[in-house]
């Protein structure tokens, strides 16, 4: 008998294999929904505490410029480490029936797919009071020296106006990225201008740069970024 690797035949699945799998998935989803609901309740309670504290002490509103550098771990997406660079100017409100949803300008460096439950904004800002933040699970503050500029990067887009135009690049980077954010706020705590710098890996290789205001966004990116 001559043996060959292709002779390897897997044993057939037991008859109840797929029904068991479905049952386990349903149970797991039910438990996850319960956990999410509990987490949402905690978040709502925390938000209420924050809102009431803010109404009592409005002077704590963020109005001073923020200049912070973060080191962030990028979650793996299908075997690669992807950071989405997105900048958008203010748009006209979107109407859902009688409900009008404001279309705010924003700028984010996000990992994974922001449409998926695993997607997350690493650092980003939104034209909203205190609408600036960094993910505290994936990012931590750093003292790395990252210049606020776009040297060695190529411009990939610029949008202006108030029609919600967006520029976007998808960057395949190292598992760790460094982000510097310089954000200026209005007196009411709404971001009015920002520069976001994205660097890849321990060598801080330049990856992307966004120069943002609510009505004008200019983006620069390296060859590691594409418009997929």
């Amino acid at each position: 008998m001559t043996l060959n690797l292709d002779d390897l035949r897997a044993p057939p699945a037991r008859p109840e294999f797929h029904s068991e799998l479905r049952h386990r998935i349903e149970t797991s989803e039910r438990l996850a929904r319960g956990r999410r609901r509990a987490a949402a309740l905690v978040a709502v309670a925390a938000a209420l505490v924050i809102v009431s504290a803010a109404s009592v002490s409005a002077f704590r509103q963020q109005t001073k410029p923020v200049d912070a550098t973060y080191v962030c771990s990028v979650p793996q997406l299908g075997g690669v480490y992807v950071v989405d660079v997105v900048g958008s100017v203010r748009g006209v409100p979107v109407k859902y029936g009688t409900v009008s949803v404001p279309n705010r300008a924003h700028a984010t460096f996000s990992a994974g797919s922001t449409m998926s439950p695993d997607g997350v904004s690493l650092v980003g800002l939104d034209e909203y009071p205190n609408g600036y933040g960094a993910d505290d699970q994936l990012c931590r503050r750093s003292h790395a020296a990252v210049p606020l500029g776009h040297a060695s990067l190529r411009p990939f887009g610029a949008v202006t106006g108030t029609q919600g135009a967006t520029i976007k690049r998808e960057c395949w980077l190292a598992p760790t990225v460094t982000i510097r954010a310089h954000v200026v706020f209005s007196r009411s705590g709404v971001p009015t201008a920002a520069q976001l710098v994205l660097r890849s890996g321990k060598k801080l290789k330049p990856a992307a740069y966004l120069d943002w205001t609510p009505t004008r966004v200019v983006g620069y990116a390296s060859a590691a970024c594409s418009n997929h």
Partner: protein, 186 residues
């Protein structure tokens, strides 16, 4: 208020609706993933474990993990394969570690009898030959030579550099040839 935290109202309704739509489509995406890969995943799991009685349980655990973490999209079919085979590979390694801790040894599979046909006997012999290899070498041979993944995808699936895949593959092929020739002489 802490400027480092996201404002509660900054999430648009539109995003929430899109997330709900994506969640609703997840079971269908998972079914399609199974249709594409299940048969090959089963072969890889059997090749890794060499124990037909554990293949179903390990594969079920791997598929459950895959469902929980299923991304909305993959960059390409290569990334999809790398992601999925990596999960199965890790579950197989966990099983092998557990088996080692319990000091279990493999016996003759229950479905093998004197009357078993040549195809079944050959399959069992190949599984036994694979079991002689180290798990790392076994994984490379299975992903590249049995399933036909390219070196880059296999490297991404196993979390090792491409060069390591090539060197492990070369050594594993030689060991497998020796194991085959010993079994063929018996």
């Amino acid at each position: 208020m802490n400027a480092e935290s996201w404002a509660a109202g900054s999430l648009d309704d539109a995003h929430a609706r899109l997330r709900a739509l994506e969640a609703a489509a997840k079971p269908r995406r998972f079914e399609m993933l199974l249709e594409r890969h299940e048969a090959r995943l089963r072969r890889v799991a059997y090749g890794m474990l060499a124990d037909p009685s554990r293949v179903d349980d390990v594969l079920q655990e791997a598929l459950l993990r895959a469902y929980r973490k299923l991304p909305v999209r993959f960059e390409s079919t290569h990334h999809e394969a790398a992601w999925l085979y990596r999960i199965v590979h890790r579950c197989c390694l966990n099983e092998l570690r557990t088996r080692k801790r319990r000091r279990e040894t493999l016996g003759v599979p229950e479905h093998i009898t004197r009357e078993s046909d040549e195809t079944t006997l050959a399959s069992v012999a190949v599984a036994a030959a694979l079991a002689e290899l180290a798990p790392d070498a076994r994984a490379v041979v299975l992903l590249v030579d049995l399933i036909g993944l390219d070196y880059e995808t296999a490297a991404a699936a196993l979390g090792i550099p491409r060069g390591t895949v090539a060197s492990r593959l070369s050594a594993a092929r030689a060991s497998l040839r020796d194991a085959f020739s010993i079994l063929e002489r018996r």
